[in-house]
Structure formats: structure tokens, C-alpha cells
Symmetry: C2
Subunit: 463 residues, 2 copies
């Protein structure tokens, strides 16, 4: 087990300054504080130093040195993770990839792009729009591509475009010993060798530092439609999800709001949602005619399942308005519930078990007796985000919220699901790894020990 490194010796600092340039090695209080936490409630921990490399070669030099001197290394993108992934719990060096933010090359005819890992995905998509292309996964927060890959991030657009793991062709990774490898190919198809690309996706910086990636892109759609469909009950809403997927329709997004979340969003005055179980959908199509027929079919399927209101809008403005509303949910919730803080859960189950998951989460939330308890989620892929309220500064209240949070994970696992649909393991989900993975956890550990025998890479996470 690696020991904590709360401060670096003068020799260590000297090495880093020579390698990166003095201005790109920081031990000042504000840089260390900024890199001590992510966006979660997990306890912050200061790194001994923060470095800002501008190349894989610099990352390599730092890792080689850290590996020889047993210095903990934590990779850092935008700090938007929600389970403590980027908190340097053993101190050591945080490698902030913010300077490695270049869009290197667009392959227009292949719908691919080479980027450095530190580029933020929204910034990248703005640049790609000039090529008529975009990267599909959309985690909400303006994460870096490296962070999205390390965490296998996803979000509202996963029914249409998959998670990050479905959209990465090739990686450049610096291993614990400083070796730089390239893995994967720009060929859409390959059956050559072990799939190391997927091994690094979702490895949370514990197997290597991702420095560059080739991503799969999609052409920007021309014809959008969105739907807000409200249902008498959750079963009708989730049966509609199955019916829509089963009919061969291809929703890009298929989101669930519980009645309380609809009520919270109504406080903004921008929408007048029914305060009932509600689905938000987005469809794309190659032609405007096709989209009309798809909407008609979607409406029929929802009606068959107890839909009480089906409002469709066509075009980009309607689309943008819907998602602005959806993405404002958490902010509006916080604003309208002063004196309450929230833990955001992230559990996922097979879609057929979604009604049970939501019902069980509702029961758990009721036990807290606090305002603001609610559930939103990506119904199209069985992912729920229960929003668990607690009283800030009240340890007992926080503990109750954590217990509810844990209960929900156990429920998801019992329903054949996973402890985390998209937020990752980090620190917060470690207690559930054994239940979810059984003895395959030992295989994961063996791979970790093979690729990082000294355990310098993001210690204290995943295992």
C-alpha cells in the first residue's frame, strides 16, 4: 500500500520544475485547494503539488519519476466528477491536463476527431459544428474528454448515441511506468488483439493517464422533434419506453421526471408541465416527412399506455428550450429549497425493472421526511438519479441520506442493475464493488496490479 505524500521534497519539486518549466508546477495554496475536491460531498484532500503538462512526453516524465519515488498521481480534467474520482486522497501530484486542450485533426469523411484529453466537450462540439459534426455523449457538466473517457460518462443523449465507451476509437495513454502507448484504430471494425481501449475507458485514472483520443462523431441532425408526454402512473410511462424502443423508433433521448420534479420545473414559469410521471423525448430524422410519421407512431404507443398529454414540438428552438428546462432541474431544485442540501444518486437497472426501481426509491425517499426528495432519470436506458435531501451541518441527517443512498444501490443490484449508471465508482461506490462484481473483482485487481504494480495511479479509488 502506497504511503501518503503530503509534501514533496525540494528534489522532487526541482525535478518537476526542470521537466515542465517552473511556472507549470504549483504548490501554492489556491491551486492545491482547487484540486482538493470535485463536485461531490466527498471530503477534500490537498495534493502536495499540481503540475500542468503540455505533452504526453511531460506526463510520461512525471509518471516515470513518480513511479520510481512512490509518489501518488491523480489525473485531473475539469473537476466535475460526482463520486470523488479526482480527490488526491493520498496527496502527491495532481496532473491537470488543462493545457492539453487542442483539437488536433478532424476527419470529415470518417466522422472522427483527434483531440488532446484536456479539451472540454462543449468547447470541442462548438468547433466541430463548423464541420457539421458533433460528439454524441452529453454529461451535462462541461467535462473534459479525458475525464469523460476515464469515467465512461454519459447523459441524456445515450439512447441515441451511446455512452462514451461507445464513441472512442483510439487512445494514447501514459502508463504508470511512464511508457506511452497507442491503442485502438480509426477503422470502424477490428478484431485485432485485446480491446485495451475499453479497458482504459471507465478505469478512472487507475490504469494510466489518457492524453489523447480519437472519437467517433455524428453528423449534426437537421430535423428535430421533441415530445413531453405525461402519464397517469409510472408504469404507463415506463411501458411506453419499452413500446417505443420495441417499435424500432430511435429516440435520441428519453428522460423521466417524477411529479415532484415537474412541479419544481413549473416554478420557473417557462413550461406548464402536468405534475404527473412525465417523459421527455427527442427524435432526429433524415427527412421532415419521416419525423412526422415517427411522432405519430410514438403518440399512438404512448396513448396505448395511459398517456394523458402528448405535446410535440418540431425544430431546433423547441429542442433547445426543452433541454434548457431539463438541465436547469437541479439548479431550480436547490434554489427553491433553501436550507436543504442534496445527494444525487446514480443507479441503473434493466429497463423492464425501471418501474420497480423508481417505486422503491420513492419509498426510500419518503422515510427522510424532507422536502425536495425526487427522482429524475434517463428512462431510455434504465438510469435513475434519486435526489436525496439532507440538512447541511446536521451529521445525523447526512448519515440518514447516505443510508438511503446505499439502500437504493442495493435495490438496484437486486434488480439486476449496477451501482452506477454513469457517475462511476470513485470513492463513493467502493463499498458496493464486491456485491456487484463478485469474484471478477479479483480479476480487476490483478489487472490493476499488473499495469500499476506500485499503485501510484489514483490510489484510494475503485478498489
Amino acid at each position: 500500500m502506497l504511503s501518503p505524500v503530503e509534501n514533496l521534497s525540494d528534489n522532487h519539486i526541482q525535478f518537476l520544475r526542470q521537466t515542465l518549466g517552473a511556472e507549470f508546477v504549483s504548490t501554492n495554496a489556491s491551486d492545491r485547494e482547487y484540486h482538493s475536491h470535485d463536485q461531490s460531498f466527498h471530503h477534500p484532500h490537498l495534493p502536495a503539488a499540481v503540475v500542468f503538462p503540455d505533452s504526453a512526453a511531460q506526463v510520461s516524465a512525471v509518471l516515470k519519476y513518480a513511479n520510481e519515488h512512490l509518489i501518488p498521481i491523480t489525473g485531473w480534467g475539469a473537476g466535475t466528477s460526482l463520486e470523488g474520482h479526482t480527490i488526491p486522497v493520498l496527496g502527491g501530484i495532481v496532473i491537470d491536463l488543462m493545457r492539453m486542450d487542442k483539437l488536433l485533426r478532424v476527419y470529415d469523411d470518417d466522422f472522427q476527431v483527434d483531440v488532446q484529453a484536456g479539451i472540454k466537450y462543449k468547447d470541442m462540439n462548438l468547433k466541430l459544428a463548423q464541420h457539421g459534426l458533433f460528439f454524441g455523449p452529453d454529461p451535462g457538466a462541461n467535462a473534459t474528454i479525458g475525464g469523460m473517457i476515464a469515467n465512461n460518462a454519459s447523459g441524456t443523449r445515450t439512447p441515441g448515441y451511446g455512452a462514451t465507451r461507445d464513441n472512442v476509437m483510439r487512445l494514447e495513454v501514459v502508463l504508470a511506468n511512464g511508457e506511452i502507448i497507442q491503442t485502438g484504430t480509426r477503422s470502424v471494425k477490428t478484431s485485432s488483439g485485446y480491446d485495451l481501449v475499453h479497458l482504459f475507458i471507465g478505469s478512472e485514472g487507475t490504469l494510466g493517464i489518457i492524453t489523447q483520443a480519437t472519437l467517433k462523431l455524428y453528423p449534426l441532425p437537421e430535423h428535430f422533434s421533441v415530445v413531453i408526454a405525461s402519464f397517469e402512473d409510472i408504469e404507463g410511462a415506463t411501458r411506453s419506453v419499452s413500446a417505443i424502443m420495441g417499435a424500432g423508433l430511435h429516440p435520441i433521448a428519453l428522460e423521466f421526471l417524477d411529479p415532484y420534479s415537474a412541479r419544481v420545473l413549473n416554478t420557473t414559469g417557462e413550461f406548464r408541465l402536468h405534475e404527473k410521471p412525465t417523459l421527455l423525448m427527442e427524435f432526429h430524422s433524415a427527412t421532415s416527412h419521416a419525423i412526422e410519421h415517427e411522432l405519430a407512431l410514438a403518440q399512438e404507443l404512448c396513448s396505448d399506455n395511459g398517456c394523458i398529454s402528448f405535446e410535440a414540438g418540431v425544430g431546433r428552438a423547441e429542442r433547445d428550450r426543452l433541454w434548457k428546462m431539463r438541465h436547469s432541474h437541479y439548479e431550480v431544485l436547490v434554489r427553491t429549497h433553501p436550507g436543504i442540501s442534496f445527494l444525487v444518486g446514480d443507479v441503473a437497472v434493466p429497463i423492464s425493472r425501471y418501474p420497480e426501481l423508481v417505486a422503491a426509491c420513492e419509498r426510500e425517499l419518503l422515510t427522510l421526511g424532507l422536502r425536495g426528495a425526487s427522482i429524475v432519470g434517463h428512462a431510455g436506458d434504465g438510469n435513475a438519479h434519486p435526489v436525496v435531501p439532507y440538512l447541511p451541518g446536521d451529521d445525523a441527517s447526512h448519515a440518514r441520506a447516505e443510508q438511503v443512498f446505499a439502500n437504493m444501490v442495493h435495490i438496484a443490484l437486486e434488480l439486476g442493475g449496477t451501482a452506477t449508471g454513469e457517475h462511476g465508482i470513485g470513492i463513493g461506490k467502493i463499498p458496493f464493488m464486491a456485491q456487484e462484481h463478485g469474484n471478477s473483482l479479483a480479476v480487476m485487481r490483478a489487472i490493476k496490479n499488473t499495469l500499476d504494480p506500485n499503485g501510484i495511479l489514483n490510489p484510494g479509488k475503485m478498489f
Copy 2:
């Protein structure tokens, strides 16, 4: 390095008989001969014994014993591989999974199925049709699901449904030491732990024996259309591929035939193809109206790129007729070229490089001066199958064919592609692993050594 085991001792045979039942352990000549080769030209090698387990527990017992006694193990599905994967080059035990062919459970609402690894995919799809569902990847040959997973098989339907690696949720795997692990989840989304499922997919039986899988399915489409589009030149055909994908159309299949292949298929009299570069396409759609509009758009895009003939057909019968023709290509080629044998190549490149790949392969084939040289391929994903003729029994001719075969792989790699799009590494593509993977090959080897320290699993393959 593991030693060959050409015969098993009486003790070994005794153990196997006790474990599996005497009738499920064979050392007879015909069983050994049948399991000594696959469908490739690679040299056969006899196993010492063939066993037919009926459970993961039996596979586990065999592996644990083999690992202790350093007996080579080769997994066996349907023997349809094309690069020597299932040839037991060091003898030892072949584990034939033919008895583990059960469809265990269909999850209708989740579009998933649990199967044993020995089920053949065509048999499985016949059973799934009763549920209105099917497994998307279609390698042509009636492979087992376990074989398809081990090889990451794909085929004509990959533009629509991805390769096998895109359609596996969960695996049961027996490791070299006999341990049985479950990995993956039925949840569509997960960010929990390392992605071991993808590590085993395409590992060609070198990391473990896959005994069970949960597969992702699709609803059977209701509205089909197919297109045969001929072009003045290969550039027009491949530009059309890019245009169709870029317009947001979703072809399920997008196949390329060179003029010679079209001529070969015309000998059957069932189609009157233009003997020009030709694309075969299939579209599915949720509504018949939508499909008309998609076809119209596809035609417009092909016309823009020098299409000289665009024949569309709608409905299942037209679809079946087209694919029967396409799948008959190799058989018709062999029948119409008596006295010539063929190596079938399998290279893939980024789609934008497909014209260069095809042109370079054509040049290579010309050097042979033999009839039958031709190219078919899965244009929609950049995969080409050059068909390389040689004179059977003529070592010099075979050597020239092998050289052309190798040259094509180098060309594909130089174009940013891969040594194998879908046939896998097996024996035949080992010489290209270093060029394709560079120093990430050492990472693959390290993982192999970690999971199979004695090297008993499919020795002589991949590395």
C-alpha cells in the same frame, strides 16, 4: 513456454472420464481429426483428446486440472473460424461446447437473452423470432455465440447493428485456473469497474473459456428495403457511402462488389448486375412512409456521385433474395473457377481510405495473373475481403498468394487500418501484431500472463 501434449496419460483420461462421463471424452481418430482444423488453409494439428462438457462446472474442473498438469486447452464452437483460431497447435484437450447450446431465458421487455456459449446463432435467431427479436451481428457461417464473442465476429449487418462486441452485456467465463466469473450487467448503462466484458470479447479463447452470455437483441424490423446501386468508378461508390452515412440515413448493410464479383454472380442468372463497382444496401424503418423518403434520399445521394443504376426493392422477399445472392458469392466463385483455390483476406481501414485500399488490393491481385481475383467487402465499415487465387498443390503459387495477402495487410495498416476487420488474429495474423499495436502489445501480453500464467489457453494464437 508450454510443451506440446500429443497424447494424454491414462491418469489424465481417467480424470476426464470421471469428471464428464466416459461418453463425453473422446480420443477416437474421427473426433480428433474433426477438431484438428478450422475452415482456413492453416495446417491442422490433432488434439490428444476432445471433451464435451455440459456445464461451466465441468469446464472449470477440466481447466483446473489442465492448469495443474500443464495441458494445452483449446475452446471449440462450430469450427468456422478463418485464421486457425481453433487449431490445437500444441495438442492437448479441445473443449467442444456443442452440448452447451441452450437458450436459457429471453427478456422480452429488455430485448436481451441469456444463452449458453455453444448455441449457434442461426438456431438462436430462429427461436428468438417467436419473440419478435433477433441478434444483430451476422457472420454468414453458422458460428456459435461463444465463437462469435471470442472472435468479435461481424458481417454484413454491422453498419446497422455493430459487431459482436457492441451486443454483449454480460459473460460467464471460466478462467485458466478453473475459477468461474460473472462479469457485466443487464443494465444498458454502467460505469462500474473495469470493462472485463470487452476484454474477453475478441480474446480468442486465450484469457478464458466463455460459457454463457447475455446478448443485446433488436426487434425484428417490419419494413425493409434493399438497393442495388452501380457506379462508373469505385470513387463514386465510396463517396456515396460517406454521403449516405453523413446524411443521417441508417443503412443496416452497405456492401461493395467489384466488377468481377458482379460478373461471377451474374453467372447464376438470378440477377442481372451491371459489371461495375456496385453497392448493396439494406434499410429498415419504423414505418413504410419513412422508408420511401429514406430511399429517395439515398437515390439522390448516389446520383450526385455518379450512380449509373439504382434499383430499389421493398419487402422481405426482396431482402432475402438480395442476401441469398450476396452470401452465395464465394460458393459461386469456387464453382466457376475449377482448378483454382482462394485465400480470403480481411482488412479494414477508415472509410475515407476505402477507395485507396480497394485500388491497392486490385493492383496486388493483378500481379498474380490468375482468374478469380476479386474484392468484396463491407463498405459501410471500411472492411474489404480480397479474394486471392492460387493453384492448389503448387507451393510457389500458394507462397505468392500469401505474399499478396501480407502486402494487403501492410497497405491497410499504412492507411490507418487494421490487420483484421472481423476474422481475428488466430495464427494467420500474428506476424502483423507488432506493426499494428506497437508497444501496447506488451500490455496485452502482460494481461495474458496475469490471467493465464501457465499459458494453457489456446497456445500459439494471438501472440
